[in-house]
């Protein structure tokens, strides 16, 4: 198998895995930033007289948040093999690009609809 074949077989998958990892880590990080701004969860971050939310940059550059950032990174690391495993059955699709895109849009629409149901039922516990 030539390098070109390997690249063509693995390149897209690895790229997908990386972008999924980065996206999941970023969502976790933004979520942690929001959570960090809640003084009742992190009271030591707050001057209670001036409840000022740290900027995102302040949050990620603070030494206090190293543990939080590691967890967020770990969420992305977990997402990497997930994408690799789930895409193992990928074969060169003969479907046109528009068809593939439409299938993804349909999945996204159903995911949003399911989220509405979940929010109504409050199954992913908001604690």
């Amino acid at each position: 198998m030539s390098i070109k074949d390997v690249m063509s077989r693995w390149g897209l998958r690895v790229l997908m895995c990386l972008s999924t990892s980065v996206t999941v880590s970023f969502i976790a990080l933004v979520c942690a930033w929001q959570q960090y701004g809640r003084w009742e969860l992190f009271p030591w971050n707050w001057n209670k007289d001036e409840k000022v939310l740290p900027t995102f940059w302040e949050f990620i550059s603070s030494e206090d948040t190293a543990g939080i950032q590691t967890t967020c990174l770990l969420a992305g690391v977990v997402a990497f093999p997930l994408c690799l495993i789930a895409s193992s059955a990928w074969r060169k699709s003969r479907a046109p690009f528009a068809g593939v895109l439409l299938a993804h849009v349909i999945t996204a629409v159903f995911a949003i609809a399911a989220a509405v149901w979940m929010a109504a039922l409050h199954l992913p516990s908001g604690h």
Partner: protein, 130 residues
């Protein structure tokens, strides 16, 4: 072997675990993992089969393969964003949603477990059928 949707063993296990957690575990342990993260861990293995079943029902899913990569990743990203960023930030549902970065980790972990299970279970059945 085709994906069994609402008769999928992992889906049934997650549904049973949800009720066991709600009725038993939460009474045994007053706080901790069972209160804060177990539902997040089983969220995707529980909801993805329901979502795909609905898609199949309205004929917007053309096959009965186990969940594809996109059918796991898109819900993971969308649900993480909605439940851990959008709803906590906007308070659209009365402030009952709280951002927790650990939830995103458990969503991803649950999805990974689901992907491994579905690959193993339906792969094994396909091998047996040959």
């Amino acid at each position: 072997m085709p994906f069994r949707y609402l008769r999928d063993p992992l889906f049934i296990f997650c549904m049973a675990l949800y009720f066991v957690n709600r009725l038993i575990f939460k009474k045994i342990w007053p706080s901790g993992f069972v209160h804060e993260h177990l539902n997040d861990l089983i969220c995707i293995p529980f909801w993805v089969p329901i979502m795909l079943f609905a898609q199949r029902l309205v004929r917007l899913r053309a096959h009965d393969d186990p969940p594809l990569a996109s059918e796991l990743i898109i819900p993971l990203v969308i649900w993480s964003f909605i439940f851990e960023i959008l709803l906590p930030a906007t308070q659209w549902l009365g402030g009952s949603f709280v951002a927790d970065y650990w939830d995103v980790f458990y969503y991803a972990l649950g999805t990974l477990v689901g992907a491994l299970w579905w690959r193993w279970w339906y792969g094994r059945r396909a091998t047996d059928a040959r």
